[in-house]
């Protein structure tokens, strides 16, 4: 087992950031902690790193109880959202930091840093200072710095949060390849469900200091266990008691048994997909997602009356 978190509770004053949280992370896996801000995901990561001390519970890393071990002795690599670059050191100095602290021989440090510079593709920037790098480059440097000490686990706190969309995408791909190469147990925090789905083998969804569900991206999407997971991992709409994904709404032009009558309020074509805003006959609005090809076939227009089928809707037991 890579990391085991058992019954961890963490309070800040009267605010409970983590409430009896347990989580297993497989050796060598890539796990995402997904949740909205304030859900406790970053706190959980910091508890694993030892940067926060839990009020209750245990953290085990590679089979050893790490709960009362200082961060510097846990063998974790930590990457911060805002890079936490050592501003007065060059890229080389930053990456070498952990090795110098460990008093490794100079030749070894040099060789290892060169290797990491190649891994994160920063060789041409080795002698620059962080202020001379772009955000994406700084984050790659921070990753190399964390990997230099060969951590047992790599922890990333919203690693792409401060980057623009295009660089995010690139860095995400790159992290995926890196993980395939290095295979270190990795946990990253994100509030972006797409990022979590694209990268992780396993996702833990957090909400109000609790873990709502843990599973593969596919499990979470196809078998959500709570309305929160259903609406946070992919979009979902509520129809009375039932929850349904917008792309599972089926629009009929004829009255159909079990369908809800609705009026088309607005149609938005977004390229491949289209969104149809509907005013339900009872009350409330909902939007349906379909391909533009489907929209063309239906020949829908604003003001038209349709019947909405929601066969694949889910009903959740009263929230636990």
């Amino acid at each position: 087992m890579g990391i085991r978190v058992e019954g961890v509770t963490k309070r800040f004053g009267s605010f409970t950031a983590l409430n009896d949280v347990s989580l297993d992370v497989q050796q060598g896996s890539l796990t995402a902690l997904l949740g909205p801000s304030g859900s406790g995901k970053s706190t959980l990561l910091r508890v694993i790193a030892g940067l926060e001390r839990p009020d209750a519970g245990r953290v085990t890393i590679s089979g050893e109880d790490a709960t009362s071990v200082a961060p510097r002795k846990r063998g974790v690599g930590f990457v911060f959202q805002h890079y936490a670059a050592f501003k007065h050191m060059t890229v080389r100095g930053n990456i070498a930091f952990g090795l110098k602290i460990r008093k490794r021989p100079r030749a070894e440090v040099r060789a290892r840093v060169d290797e990491l510079l190649a891994l994160v593709q920063l060789q041409p920037f080795a002698d620059r200072y962080p202020s001379q790098l772009s955000g994406g480059q700084r984050q790659r440097m921070a990753l190399a710095r964390a990997l230099a000490v060969e951590p047992k686990v790599l922890l990333l706190d919203e690693p792409f949060g401060a980057l623009d969309t295009r660089v995010r995408g690139e860095l995400r791909e790159w992290l995926h390849r890196l993980h395939d190469e290095v295979r270190v147990t990795t946990v990253f925090v994100t509030h972006d469900q797409e990022e979590a789905m694209a990268l992780a083998d396993q996702i833990a969804v957090l909400h109000d200091g609790r873990i709502e569900q843990v599973g593969s991206p596919r499990d979470l999407y196809d078998q959500p266990q709570t309305p929160f997971v259903m609406s946070f991992v992919g979009a979902a709409a509520q129809l009375g008691e039932r929850w349904v994904r917008q792309h599972d709404l089926d629009l009929k032009l004829e009255p159909t048994a079990g369908a809800l009558e609705a009026r088309v309020e607005r149609i938005a074509r977004l390229g491949f997909e289209a969104r149809v805003e509907l005013q339900l006959a009872g009350s409330g609005t909902i939007w349906a997602q379909m391909t533009c090809a489907e929209l063309n076939r239906l020949e829908l227009e604003r003001g038209a009356t349709v019947w909405v089928m929601a066969d694949r809707a889910r009903v959740f037991a009263e929230s636990s």
Partner: protein
């Protein structure tokens, strides 16, 4: 137009308050030529006074630098119940007249004072001697390093320190390799201000030193002593030396500072 007015007002004020008096000092010192001025500041008493001022600064400044950095770390990084009080206390020397400080030390270390009776019983002379002068100087120059370092520590945040920690650095290694390099300019500026304040201290030292010429007379006390004895050239010439010391300290700072822009 408005900018011109602003400039005139600012520079005019500076000239009136700062440059005017300073020019007079230089003017009067060298009124009778360089020779008399030189002779006035190379008498044994004068040399002793300058030396004493430097010795006091050489002890008070490092002590206040170490205390100032520790105090700033305590205030910013390790919140504790009495933090607000400490924060306010640090500023006290700025608000309190140095003469009051001098009298407080006088009462504490005088022959009948709380510490004074015990210390003199053990043959340690504090008052009218170097120790009390160092205490007085350290007291009045406490705030500068703390006040320079606190905002910078706040600004750099804890990310870099935590990163160092996860990379295996101990508290001391983190301070030496990460925190200190980030605050070194604030520390340097604090040291400059502390030094300048120490060199110029008059009120508190005047009370505790006893002002014995050639023994417990610092440069500022020497200036005052010369003036009271109608040795105008001596007073002004010594003032020039003090002013030059201050200028050298400030220039050193400014010469060092541009290196910051490199990275």
């Amino acid at each position: 137009m408005r900018r011109l007015t602003l400039r005139t007002v600012a520079l005019g004020y500076l000239a009136l308050i700062l440059l005017g008096p300073l020019s007079v000092v230089f003017w009067r010192a060298f009124e009778k030529g360089f020779g008399p001025a030189w002779n006035a500041v190379t008498t044994p008493e004068a040399l002793h006074a300058f030396q004493l001022t430097l010795v006091i600064a050489a002890i008070a400044v490092p002590a206040n630098t170490i205390f100032g950095v520790l105090c700033a770390l305590l205030i910013v990084r390790h919140p504790f119940p009495g933090k607000g009080l400490l924060n306010a206390l640090v500023d006290l020397p700025l608000a309190l007249s140095p003469v009051v400080v001098g009298f407080a030390l006088f009462l504490l270390y005088g022959r009948t004072g709380w510490f004074g009776s015990w210390l003199s019983g053990h043959g340690i002379q504090v008052l009218f001697a170097l120790p009390s002068m160092i205490l007085a100087t350290a007291f009045v120059s406490i705030p500068f390093v703390v006040r320079e370092v606190v905002p910078v520590l706040r600004e750099i945040g804890t990310d870099q320190e935590q990163a160092a920690e996860t990379l295996g650095a101990s508290q001391w290694q983190t301070f030496r390799r990460v925190t200190f390099p980030a605050i070194r300019w604030a520390v340097a500026y604090g040291v400059v201000l502390t030094t300048a304040r120490s060199l110029g201290e008059y009120g508190a030292v005047s009370v505790v030193s006893g002002r014995l010429a050639g023994q417990t007379e610092t440069a500022t006390l020497y200036v005052s002593d010369r003036y009271e004895n109608f040795d105008i050239v001596g007073a002004y010439a010594a003032s020039v030396v003090l002013a030059l010391m201050a200028i050298v300290v400030l220039l050193t700072m400014n010469l060092l500072r541009p290196k910051e822009g490199v990275h």
